[in-house]
């Protein structure tokens, strides 16, 4: 494929899009211009509300209902996409441009077998049934679906998130498009799956000479994938240029700020970012070794029906400590956390709450005494669904205050205001509905609600995953402050190891429901490691890294550490750092299979 073609495949000229709200035009995209040459990848970067997805959608000649183009043109190979008639638009979407959306789980039809869905996108090509079948199989192989024959007969809910996204990519490639639009293709995936999907897309793009436009808020992903980058803010382009240039030597202050907000693996604590983009890393003060435990788990197992989601986990969490649970989706980390919060009963082992209030956490929430129940509280991943959209903020916080504390309405109202200001929210927002708050504000309300029970332990399930980097930084700083002020112990679940590095005191790496490595954050990140931990750390994408084109370097599985004891299951490296022994060969040693 000729990548040096002089005519750009995509040309967007001074594009402005607005939607009408109550009689006034609200601009969402303001004067965006860019070109993408054939075979290149352009990344459109920005935080939520920056208009990046709107821009991407215009390449499919799509505008959200109620929006319209107020100026400019969008051209694909010289053709004005918004001058097309219906048939033209259909042809465009069937043959020329394909979209891979953010959540494949939502974009696949739940009632149709995935093979049939891929086949459906081949229909415009008028192949015979047999040819279509053959193409579906070859596509499935190309996107790396294991055992395609069997997998293609499954329904979407029977696939993992990564497999669903592979199906979505196969559907997009089925039409042999000239342009691939990737709208946050790996957001909400864990790092390992993300790395594999990105490798896949990168390989395919090179192999098929695809031109792609990647929409992402993740600068690490951008640095991995893009040739060029375009940074958007509030609908306008603030900076554009070669991706490497933009990410390593940003010129615009906003880009600098964005870059500075990204947590890095080498940070030894939480980074504080000033408005001008300078970052200062506040080193963590270690929790003294003799701190009493807040929670202890001994051989805990949790079953989902006949499958064992958590398989003999032994961990302890000390007061005022942040313990990070790390692992891929399906590793059992969320199940373990939900058991702690009383949403699943554990099926074996002991789970005990220590500290001022003591109790047994093996039972589900309703069976726990009220005073134990309130001491373990949960903060959810998705701030959009964690608040009842019909209840104003004050009610959301007041309910647990009254439920746990038996306060009168007036006391609860007063305390709710205090709690809201504790989480750095303007108490005047307490009359708002969640829909009228930003994502970060909603997450703060979720944290305030968890604090209302006056907990000893807070279980934070991927609380910053859905947030923009700048907001993520402020929410992490808030959690850190609350930990210090209230001597709270946190179970912090995350698949983002860079975040974990900043916030956690200790890390436990879970795989298939078992702890494979556990230790102080410093020790785990400096190694030696279990090969699985290593693969997680290697999968972290750092925006300042440069990625050579070509397949990602395959990392040599780490050497087992020098034998330090005679424990048959664990290598004990001292200082609380222990690694589960693994087989030199076989599946355990090569987690990338």
């Amino acid at each position: 494929m000729n990548t040096e073609s002089t005519d750009p495949l995509v040309r967007v000229e001074n594009l402005s899009v607005a939607y009408t709200s109550e009689g006034t035009d609200v601009p969402v995209v303001r004067g965006v211009s860019f070109e993408v040459a054939a075979g290149r990848t352009l990344a459109v970067v920005g935080e939520s509300g920056s208009g990046k997805s709107t821009v991407a959608a215009t390449l499919l000649a799509h505008l959200r209902h109620g929006s319209r183009i107020t100026s400019g043109r969008v051209e694909l190979a010289g053709e004005d996409l918004f001058g097309l008639d219906r048939a033209g638009v259909r042809r465009l979407r069937a043959h020329d441009v394909a979209l891979v959306g953010q959540n494949a789980g939502h974009s696949l039809t739940p009632s149709m077998r995935v093979g049939a869905q891929i086949e459906e996108s081949l229909l415009p090509q008028r192949l015979s049934r047999r040819e279509r079948r053959a193409r579906v199989l070859s596509l499935a192989g190309k996107v790396g679906l294991p055992e395609p024959e069997r997998l293609l007969r499954r329904h979407p809910h029977q696939l993992s998130g990564g497999q669903q996204q592979r199906v979505a990519i196969a559907m997009a490639l089925a039409a042999r498009p000239r342009l691939l639009v990737l709208d946050e293709p790996t957001t909400s995936m864990d790092v390992v799956t993300q790395a594999r999907i990105l490798d896949l897309v990168a390989d395919l793009s090179r192999e098929l000479g695809l031109t792609s436009i990647l929409v992402s808020h993740d600068l690490g992903v951008v640095s991995r994938m893009a040739d060029e980058a375009l940074v958007m803010r509030e609908g306008a382009v603030v900076e554009q240029g070669r991706a490497q240039q933009v990410l390593t030597a940003p010129e615009h202050p906003y880009t600098r700020l964005l870059l500075a907000s990204v947590p890095r693996l080498e940070d030894r604590g939480l980074a504080e970012v000033d408005q001008d983009g300078t970052r200062t890393v506040r080193p963590r003060t270690p929790v003294p070794a003799d701190t009493p435990d807040a929670v202890s788990l001994q051989d805990v197992t949790v079953d989902h029906g006949s499958t064992r989601a958590v398989d003999g986990v032994t961990l302890r969490l000390r007061r005022g400590e942040v313990l990070a649970l790390v692992g891929e989706s399906g590793s059992g980390k969320s199940t373990l956390a939900w058991s702690l919060a009383g949403l699943h009963a554990s099926s074996g082992g002991h789970m005990l709450l220590h500290g001022p209030t003591e109790g047994d956490l093996a039972a589900t929430a309703r069976r726990r005494p009220l005073d134990v129940r309130r001491r373990v509280q949960l903060v959810f991943q998705n701030a959009d669904t964690s608040l009842n959209p019909r209840r104003i903020v004050r009610e959301a916080v007041r309910r647990p205050l009254r439920f746990f504390g038996g306060r009168s309405r007036r006391e609860a109202d007063r305390d709710a205001r205090t709690l809201l200001s504790d989480v750095a929210l303007d108490p005047d927002l307490s009359g708002r509905l969640p829909g009228q708050l930003s994502g970060g504000q909603r997450q703060r309300v979720g944290i305030a609600r968890a604090l209302a029970g006056d907990p000893q332990v807070v279980v934070a399930d991927e609380v910053t995953t859905a947030l923009d980097v700048s907001v993520q930084a402020s929410v992490l700083a808030l959690l850190e402050r609350l930990r210090e002020e209230r001597d709270l112990a946190f179970v912090f679940i995350s698949h983002d190891l860079a975040v974990v590095r900043g916030i956690a005191d200790r890390v436990a790496v879970l795989r298939h429901g078992r702890v494979v490595e556990e230790g102080p954050v410093e020790a785990v990140f400096s190694g030696p490691n279990h090969p699985y931990t290593r693969s997680l750390i290697d999968a972290v994408l750092d925006p300042s890294d440069t990625y050579a084109p070509g397949p990602a370097p395959s990392h040599r599985p780490p050497e087992p550490p020098p034998d330090t004891g005679d424990d048959p299951t664990w290598h004990d490296l001292g200082g609380g750092h222990r690694i589960r022994r693994w087989e030199e060969t076989g599946a355990e040693a090569s987690p990338d299979t």
């Binding site: 709200s21 109550e22 609200v26 509300g49 509030e234 906003y254 700020l257 408005q275 919060a341 009383g342 949403l343 929430a365 309703r366 726990r368 009220l370 129940r373 509280q377 949960l378 959810f380 991943q381 998705n382 669904t385 964690s386 608040l387 009842n388 959209p389 019909r390 209840r391 959301a396 309910r399 647990p400 439920f403 746990f404 303007d426 708002r432 509905l433 829909g435 009228q436 708050l437 930003s438 970060g440 504000q441 609600r449 029970g453 700048s470 907001v471 402020s474």
Partner: protein, 298 residues
């Protein structure tokens, strides 16, 4: 860039408006909903104010005036017993509206409670209840009603109970589907993690988020019930003869339809406009609130 000045960029000026006021304004903008609700309100007003709108009695027989055509005294003529047709049409909504609305309210209330509860509970309770309801669904409503009425008599209370029984399963299905969409959301999980009981979760967390579905279901169900109850009267099992009732009037006057078309047509038009009004309201509301009506095709 900081969080505070990025707060809800898309809806800055709406934040001040009260949500109820906002949905009211949206309602007024939807023509379908306006026309539909207007028709229903008109019928309710006429039924309630019938004694003020006409001085004639709807039940008194005046043999001398029997079978008159439309004229200045009797705008729509009189029936075989000399009763003014217009008067009877004006009064005629009272029975149908009262009984239908009572029955619909009961069916929707019971269905909502059952639907939410079964969605929240899930598991075996859910399966068992749904199978029982499926069995009830298999019985044709009019048949079930006829059986009940022949056994227990045709009192309004009996009819209300029978209709409740017949239509609750359909409401349960719709409400359960909506509640199932809400039940796995994190705010419900949060309430469960607090250890709240099912009823408070239902009332505080689930119901407010499906109330629009319930409202649409009410309008939709009401139109079916009005038709059902009028058919019952038409068949002679609903309102007792002297009572002015549309279904009964159509049945009484249909033999004289060629001579006195208005005595039959007027109650038909009244009934039709009410049903159309209810349907339009359901349509308008569901479009306004994005309620998926495909569930309710039955």
């Amino acid at each position: 860039m900081s969080e505070s000045n990025r707060n809800s960029p898309s809806t800055p000026n709406r934040a001040t408006a009260h949500p109820a006021g906002r949905s009211m304004r949206a309602l007024l903008r939807s023509r379908t909903a306006c026309v539909g609700l207007g028709l229903v309100l008109l019928h309710l007003a006429v039924a309630a104010l019938a004694p003020l709108l006409t001085s004639a009695s709807p039940t008194a027989n005046v043999p001398d005036d029997a079978l008159l055509g439309p004229g200045s005294d009797h705008w729509l003529g009189t029936d075989a017993l000399g009763r003014d047709v217009l008067t009877r049409v004006l009064y005629g909504g009272q029975y149908a509206l009262a009984v239908s609305f009572a029955a619909t309210a009961c069916a929707v209330a019971l269905g909502t409670v059952l639907g939410c509860a079964t969605a929240l509970k899930g598991g075996r309770t859910d399966g068992a209840l749904m199978r029982v309801l499926d069995a009830v669904l298999a019985i044709p409503p009019i048949l079930a009603l006829l059986v009940v009425v022949t056994v227990l008599g045709a009192g309004p209370l009996v009819i209300v109970l029978a209709v409740t029984l017949v239509y609750t399963p359909q409401v349960v299905r719709v409400v359960r589907a909506a509640a199932l969409g809400v039940a796995p959301l994190d705010y419900v999980t949060a309430a469960r993690a607090r250890g709240e009981r099912t009823l408070p979760i239902l009332l505080r967390e689930v119901l407010p988020n499906i109330v629009h579905v319930v409202a649409v279901e009410f309008a939709m169900r009401a139109s079916w019930v009005v038709l059902l109850i009028s058919s019952l009267s038409f068949l002679g099992f609903g309102a007792d003869p002297p009572t002015p009732d549309w279904g009964l009037m159509i049945s009484e006057n249909r033999t004289a339809m060629v001579v006195l078309p208005w005595a039959t047509l007027a109650p038909i038009i009244a009934l039709a406009t009410l049903v159309v009004g209810l349907n339009l309201s359901a349509d308008g509301l569901s479009r306004l609130w994005n309620v998926d009506r495909s569930e309710e095709a039955s």
